[in-house]
Amino acid sequence: MATVSPRHSASPAGPASVPPADSQSADQRAVRDNAADPAEQESVGEGESLPMSGLRVIDVGTFLAGPYAASILGEFGAEILKVEHPVAGDPMRRFGTASKRHDATLAWLSEGRNKKSVTLDLRQREGVELFLKLVAKSDVLIENFRPGTMEEWGLGWEVLQKANPGLVMLRVSGYGQTGPYRRRSGFAHIAHGFAGLSYLAGFPGETPVVPGTAPLGDYLSSLYGAIGILIALRHREATGEGQIIDIGIYEAVFRQMDEIAAAYGLFGKVREREGAGSFVAVPHGHFRTVDDKWVAIACTTDKMFERFAAVMGQPALAAADRYGPQRQRLAARDEVNRLVIAWVGSLTREEVMRRCIDGEVPVGKVNSIADIFKDAHFQARGNLARLKEEGLGEVVIPGVVPTLSATPGRIANLGPPLGNATYEILRELLGLSAQEIKRLRQHKII
């Protein structure tokens, strides 16, 4: 476990008193913890050990839609140059709860992980020139300006490709690079609405609520973006050719909705808000316990309902002529739910959990973040990474997902201070002199 500087150190999630569940998880944690220790990285030669090492990514996006794709690549070894405006930086630095560091909110600290910050004003000619030099030395470019913006700055695809024919470029915008709405400003919240997800969140006929978290669409579009980049890199290896990945946030949201398009297309079914339930199965929802907490129960198959009926002490409910078949449960949705509401409502959450787990019924607590921090499984899996930074204290952030057995990702640093790597990159990568860099700084180009 690392406990000392350089600047950041990571320790395994959770108090030492919680033992790992088995040896496998202990091994994985050990690997992660070592990898998270900067001193250790040098000695094991991270350069060769991580799958994305050797890859240089320029992330000139703002907020999360696109930049999160860079975060993932960075977790697995890519060098991420976060190119930001010299004065303002990424607005994500001011978005959400402030930390003690004046240029960083908590969301920035977490999602700016592993990046290096390089300031560059793309509204100035010299900024654009330097940017093209960076592009020439990079593999991937990630941007999320409104379509047409980069072109206005003289940084359209033709120019970029000329600077680097193998460039892979991820472009994320609210509506994509084409189509009638391409110039509209789009954020995840708008995309959730436009793609039909928000319409489904809430009780039938009542107020549509935010579907979970506000930036969900940003994460989704970044996940598709990361996949696109990885596929495009394969193609580049085979052919030398770069290409563009064009993602509208709304598309990434829309892609998640199982049969909704097919069912409307074929049968004219318009799915409506389903409250805490689902059209596919009963019981399948959220239920309140006697201690005013909530559990989720999901009986997707008849087998699971049979188990659940036994757990409720009413095995007869699962008979073929009662609620055994899903079709009958769906037809008698309210009755079945009433039975479940009554049973769950008579017990504490701990008791419901215990009985359902013993009976192998799919159940889970509807966790608040406070519940999550106490949870033994989150701790055992290392889902809460704890990083210390001077002046900030300990910052707890979500750990790396996905978990790879031979080449696990790692968090080397939190979201960087604005411009922390400008000098290093301009000096070492682009070969500018100290004097030149000073001049650029005076002109606020960097």
């Binding site: 400003s185 009780f203 290409q243 297309g265 989720a296 921090f373 952030i397 996905p402």
Partner: protein, 409 residues
Amino acid sequence: MSTSDSDEACLPLAGIRVIDAATVIAAPYSASILGEFGADVLKVENPKGGDPMRHFGTATRRKDTLAWLSEARNKRSVTLDLHLPEGVDLFKQLIAKADVLCENFRPGTLEKWGLGWDVLHEINPGLIMLRVTGYGQSGPYRDRPGFARVAHAVGGIAFLSGMPRGTPVTPGSTTLGDYLTGLYGCIGILMALRHRQRTGQGQYIDAALYESVFRCTDELAPAYGMFGQVRERHGPTHNDFACPHGHFPTKDDGKWVAISCVTDKLFERLAIAMGRPELAAPHVYGDQKTRLENRHDVNEIVRDWCGSLHREELLNRCFAAGAPAGPLNSIADIFGDRQFHSRRNLLAIDEPDIGETVIVPSVLPRLSKTPGRIKHLGPRLGEHTEEVLGDLLGLGADEIAALRAKRVI
């Protein structure tokens, strides 16, 4: 329209063979994406009924449901009973000829059949194995059954969905966590393939549904860790970071809009769209901090304005001013939308044995040089068993008939 013209051999994942022995959406969705970009995906299913996904949701004339037709796109179905020794043996032969295995059995199940990682790794040292379960391969809950519904709850997003202090609701779609995990799984596979190219070394990816959900919760964890802030249900507005930021009803009954002013600049544009630019003055509601402190007043102003206009008129004003707004579309709205049409987000595919056209979401992500494609919808159970056992494993017609008689396939 159903298939693009790109030469199959030129697709970026051509030559990669994926065995998808998983069920429902999560791990299979990783395979679906790989298949869209040219990988050969063999869907290994139990001969008795196959993947339960075939029964999930609305049935078609072919019995297989719409979700199956859409999400099993491009796959070849091979039946194989892994409960039987001969099934296990054939599976091992397939593994020897594959690059990737996707599975989502409960931890220990494959091991019980003699198909644990050690065995598979020995058969094929370069094998990449995606393992998806509700809780992952380690930790105290590893043996619990897990579904996306439960993962949304455990991962913290169900708690946030719903009216403040009201019943937590489904966060839009019950399958969200499955898709999220499929995406992370796919990323894991592609990175592992990259590592294999350099080293020859295979590995496994240990994915948990709840982890994919939890990973998408912005500052939820650090805000609790540092300040003990417990985020509660948002309702229709999410004003922890920005205001106005929420859903507002328009003059048209049941038609809502989303408005999202994450920066001051965007609020200024909204104020212009509202015909009240003075609201964005520094001493009024010009900065985010002031708006957040006065969120009730700001929301009320926006709500009143939205309620006074038809949705279309309201949105036109917002778009003209560059203010961030959009409709809360139903699927019916989506089918009529110009942007969805222009971007070809909906693909109409003719399936002869269904007798009708099936409309499915098209391939994501969109690549300029090597776009993915949908060759065909979800296959019939066992549609490709003979072709795969014959061509790939070199079994003769007699052997295949014998296996069928013994219900191994």
